[in-house]
Amino acid sequence: MIEPPLVDIRHLSRDYASGGLFAGRHVTRALTDVSMTVHRGTIHGIVGESGCGKSTLARLVMALDRPTSGSVLFEGEDLFGVSARELKRKRRDFQMVFQDPFGSLDPRQTVGRIVAEPLHVLDGKPGRAERRDKVAAMLEAVGLSPDHAARYPHAFSGGQRQRIAIARALITEPKLVVADEAVSALDLSVQAQVLNLLMDLRDRRGVTVLFITHNLAVVDAVADRVGVMYRGRLVESGPAQAVFARPLHPYTRLLADAEPDVTRFGRPDRPPLSVSAPIDVGVGCSFRNRCPRAVARCATERPELRSLGDEPDLRDRQTACHRAEVLLDAETSE
């Protein structure tokens, strides 16, 4: 029998109700029909702007929230179909690293206690000596020293704190780490150290990382696969380097063009980004009001995620764009 993928996300949607006091109640759809597969031992990037649903996706994969519809299969088992007890047992297999290394560590606890904390919820809670050994080994694995365990978070820099947060996430030896903007708050020189650490953990320990960020360059540098999200939907997916080298969705193209680059000096030679008119996102493509390639069909028919063919550089890639073939031809002729 084939081993199921580590995480299989199927038709996941999440609505949030808001308003009610002054305005009428209305429902915001944060995530719409997202499906993707995260394979073992890979770094899977999710990129998109704020409000695109990427953090909602992270919360659902971590089972911190329940979907309105759809399912998350972790090693083939539905996280929302199991009992609370069973879910608690499963939690050791997935851990999270947050954005803010200053807010996510309790300032009144020693680093040793912070890193050991997830062990306390395990069924077979390890003894004191074993906990100490595990913490020491984990601190070393993330490039800190075992005697750092006795110190408090304030003694550490931002990069070191993020290493502590990663050590805490890894102490239960999880199969999956969800990193939500885990390097965004770090200085450049330190950011590179933490990114290298994630790649080392993938290669040496086989850790799988769901890496959520708005920074394309970071994903391009570390991720094996990437999913691009826009307004709650997955609009493109594929091997990270191929996606950024030759985007198959106009939104990915827009993101790549907007990203500042140390080798591009002065104002880029592009038309100013237009202020987009609001549109009804209930029908058609939700990107059409910002899309330079939109046609009439885009306003009436929703583009579904599809493959463009079996050629070597298109295999394994998907896009949700009616105009992808046109985009592809334009990219090729450029």
Binding site: E49, S50, S157, G158, G159, Q160, D187, L188, S189, V190, Q191, A192, Q193, L195, N196, M199, D203, H214, N215, L216, A217, V218, D220, A221, V222, Q241, F244, L254, L255, A258, E259, P260, D261, V262, T263, R264, F265, G266, R267, P268, P272, L273, V275
Partner: protein, 326 residues
């Protein structure tokens, strides 16, 4: 001889520590900026870049002890009494903050926040100032400026709030704009729009811009000249293109190598080992010597002088070309 818009001479800033001792933070900063010029200041956390920006604004906290001179249009900000300073800042210098939400008053409409300065400083009526506020919102390309001027900050998106922040800074028609990480909290597409707006303002209005950022791509996009700060010292200065394509200081080279970019399969990013030292624990000699891959023994002996190996190009490193090797 014409006067530059801003001339900083031998600026040093120290902070009074709780134990009574003085902790030097910013050391030996000198620079000039002409009208319409754009200067990027690159520095990681702990480089002293924000303290430098506050000093130029005349907004140093009471514990800070500056020495040297900050001449704005020939007048020394450090020698002014509070009242004179108050009319200079705000009028001549505008400031854009990193976090537009915390910088705005949540209990006041954005239109009134833009108008406030014009009422207090220019003596405009509220009616006229509010009209002017809508024009300013238009100028920063805010859609539906008239309607949104009556809304409160919480109702706006991050990009819209930053436009309001720029409009507030613009209301006084400043000669110099200081932007401290203005787009760090924004999405890339919104960032591109905000940078375009700032770019238009320096081109069309002749406004000078000091842009503080840790993002080298943003600096490359926006600034003609660049100053690299580390541990309160300038380590390198020059035309942005020169600094980023032919860096003279190993720290600048290290930063450029650490920029995330596409790697060969299974490749690792290059890093600068260690972390930025605290001001109380700087290494002897060159402040970067403990992390520098190119250090030699002489680097620990004394702090390198600031030199000009090429006209318009400054560097602090004994190993930079043009410097005598020991």
């Amino acid at each position: 001889m014409t006067q530059p818009l801003l001339r900083i001479e031998n600026l040093a800033i120290s902070i009074d520590r709780p134990d009574g001792a003085r902790q030097p933070i910013v050391t030996d900063i000198s620079l000039t900026l002409e009208a319409g010029e754009t200067l990027g200041i690159v520095g990681e956390s702990g480089s002293g870049k924000s303290l430098l920006a506050l000093a130029v604004m005349g907004l140093l906290p009471p514990v800070a002890r500056p020495t040297g001179r900050i001449l704005l249009e020939g007048r020394d900000l450090l020698a002014m009494d509070d009242e004179t300073l108050c009319s200079v800042r705000g009028r001549r210098v505008g400031l854009i903050f990193q976090e537009p939400l915390t910088a705005l008053n949540p209990a006041m409409t954005v239109g009134d926040q833009i108008a406030e300065g014009m009422v207090i400083q220019d003596g405009l009526s509220w009616r006229a100032a509010r009209r002017e506020a809508i024009t300013l919102l238009d100028r920063v390309r805010m859609p539906e400026a008239a309607r949104l001027s009556r809304s409160y900050p919480h109702a706006l998106s991050g990009g819209q709030r930053q436009r309001v922040g720029i409009a507030i800074a613009l209301a006084m028609k400043p000669a110099l704009m200081i932007a401290d990480e203005p787009t760090t909290a924004l999405d890339v597409t919104v960032q591109a729009e905000v940078l375009d707006i700032l770019d238009d303002l320096t081109r069309d209005a002749g406004m000078a811009l000091i842009l503080v950022s840790h993002d080298l791509g943003v600096i490359a996009r926006m600034c003609a000249r660049t100053l690299v700060l580390y541990a309160g010292r300038r380590l390198e200065e020059g035309l942005t293109r020169d600094v980023l394509t032919m860096p003279l200081n190993p720290y600048t080279r290290g930063l450029l190598r650490a920029v995330p970019r596409r790697q060969p399969q299974d490749g690792r990013l290059q890093t600068i080992p260690g972390t930025v030292p605290s001001f109380a624990a700087l290494p002897p000699g060159c402040v970067f010597s403990d992390r520098c891959p190119e250090r030699i023994d002489a680097c620990h002996a004394a702090e390198p002088r600031w030199t000009y190996p090429v006209p318009g190009r400054g560097v602090r490193c004994i190993r930079a070309p043009g410097e005598a090797m020991p």
